[in-house]
């Protein structure tokens, strides 16, 4: 299974890569290749040019910016999963990365690539939404920041323009009292493979009640989305199991749940509620 022929470009710097994208509207960025190459081999996609960003210096780091952390474009799922910084400030993302694909996929695939690919059932986008991440996009005319909430537009479609490169994902640091979690049912059972339904949650507790919450759901609709209804029901509550179950019952509010090979609308709605409750409870436990 070969891809169709293409021109291969290996820029050593970001500017060269951006120039190549500007000059060739039919070009595609290659990062870990774990989604792009399968699509090219199946000939679902046949770009004229592939711009391999794999050797651009400076994009392979997780950095501490003081009030936030940045995950560069070449940081792999394995590196996100193993990072102490990500574990401390974005446990939901570290967990989602550790449950993305298998070891081989995690060793090559990148966190940023997972965002741009924007699969309906991808894990890490849900965590990016719940953690209030910011996407930093570079083009030859400069950089812009896109809130995660505005990034996932539709099935396999992000807000990134074809001439842009996502150089980093920025996650705000959190203090005591805030915790996050991700839970899912994978297509191959347990936590393995894309999410049949997955829920990422970030919560803050103060004085015995929930003072802030964000909840994102993946796998059930046309894209990973924030579900404000669950968050609203949690805020102001005591975070008791009863309050969590009541909030989780709203997990698919505003989502058009789609039937697919992995489940009916009813089943996926039920799963989203179950995993919303589990993820909220885990986030609350870590925020205590």
């Amino acid at each position: 299974m070969y891809p169709r022929p293409f021109e291969y470009v290996l820029p050593s710097g970001l500017d060269d890569a951006l120039d190549a994208l500007d000059a060739n509207p039919g070009a595609k960025v290659l990062a870990g290749g774990m989604s792009l190459l399968p699509m090219m081999k199946m000939r679902l996609l046949s770009p004229e040019m592939v711009v391999d960003i794999g050797r651009i210096a400076g994009l392979d780091q997780i950095t501490d910016n003081g009030d936030s952390i940045s995950i560069g474009a070449l940081v792999t799922h394995s590196e996100v999963a193993a990072s102490g910084l990500v574990g401390e400030h974005g446990a939901a993302l570290a967990t989602a990365a550790s449950w993305t694909g298998d070891r081989q996929v995690r060793n090559r695939g990148t966190c940023c690539g997972s965002m741009v690919h924007a699969d309906v059932a991808a894990d890490q986008p849900a965590a990016a939404l719940a953690l209030g991440a910011t996407m930093v996009a570079a083009s030859s005319s400069g950089t812009r920041e896109i809130a995660a909430a505005d990034f996932f537009v539709d099935t396999l479609m992000s807000a990134l323009e074809p001439n842009e490169i996502l150089t980093e994902i920025r996650i705000p640091k959190v203090g005591a009292g805030t915790g996050s979690a991700y839970d899912k049912l994978g297509r191959r059972g347990g936590h393995t493979d894309y999410a049949v339904a997955g829920v990422a949650v970030s919560v803050t507790r103060s004085n015995g009640s929930v003072s802030a919450a964000t909840v994102a759901v993946t796998g059930v609709g046309n894209r990973p989305v924030l579900v404000g209804e669950v968050a609203d029901a949690l805020v102001g509550s005591d975070g008791s199991d009863a309050a969590v179950e009541a909030a989780a019952a709203q997990a698919t509010c505003g989502i058009e749940v789609l039937e697919d090979l992995y489940g009916s609308v009813d089943y996926k709605t039920h799963l989203a509620q179950v995993f919303a409750a589990r993820a909220v409870k885990a986030a609350l436990a870590s925020a205590a």
């Binding site: 070969y2 891809p3 169709r4 021109e7 290749g33 190459l37 081999k41 298998d102 081989q104 090559r108």
Partner: protein, 165 residues
């Protein structure tokens, strides 16, 4: 285009098209047919190799992406006619039947034990999640990896299950 890499300790180079997959470069240009092509679509792990010490799918990488890399394939494991402990484990614990998944399974196990020299059964099972075997039911593969882990730690492997029966 020209690509160069170290394969099993030997510096090699050859011509490849941009679209040449690493597995085809290894098998067809270098004649190293130990690495198998199963699904060719990222799901079965038969094509797993070690690239700079990490398990990767050679069917889902361009040969160009491996330029300059340090690669080990199943052919590079045995030293001076001595099987690698993981190979020995698969032999001693009957970790294969048809053998089709075995090269990938072994490379997955080798990299797993390099990263985690004393994995639990659960960690072994999670570690080979990306490698499908249609014959064994995985049980003996897990035993083979436990055997290899013990050998690599300098311990005596637990006796085979069938010897206790």
């Amino acid at each position: 285009m020209k690509v160069s890499m170290s394969v099993n300790g030997r510096q090699v180079s050859g011509e490849a098209e941009p679209r040449t997959l690493l597995v085809h470069f290894l098998r067809e240009s270098l004649g190293l047919t130990g690495t198998h092509v199963g699904c060719e679509s990222s799901y079965c792990g038969a094509c797993t190799i070690s690239l700079d010490g990490k398990a990767v799918l050679s069917c889902t990488m361009l040969a160009a992406q491996a330029d300059g890399a340090d690669i080990t394939t199943v052919e590079g494991l045995a030293q001076d006619g001595e099987l690698h402990p993981v190979q020995e484990g698969f032999w001693e614990r009957h970790g294969l039947q048809c053998g089709f998944c075995t090269p990938g399974m072994i490379m997955s196990a080798v990299t797993l034990l390099e990263e985690n020299p004393e994995p639990s059964e659960e960690e072994i099972r999670r570690g080979i999640e990306g490698n499908l075997c249609r014959c064994t039911g995985y049980h003996n593969i897990v035993q083979a990896i436990e055997y290899a882990g013990a050998r690599m730690r300098g311990e005596e492997p637990a006796p085979a299950e069938w010897e206790n029966a």
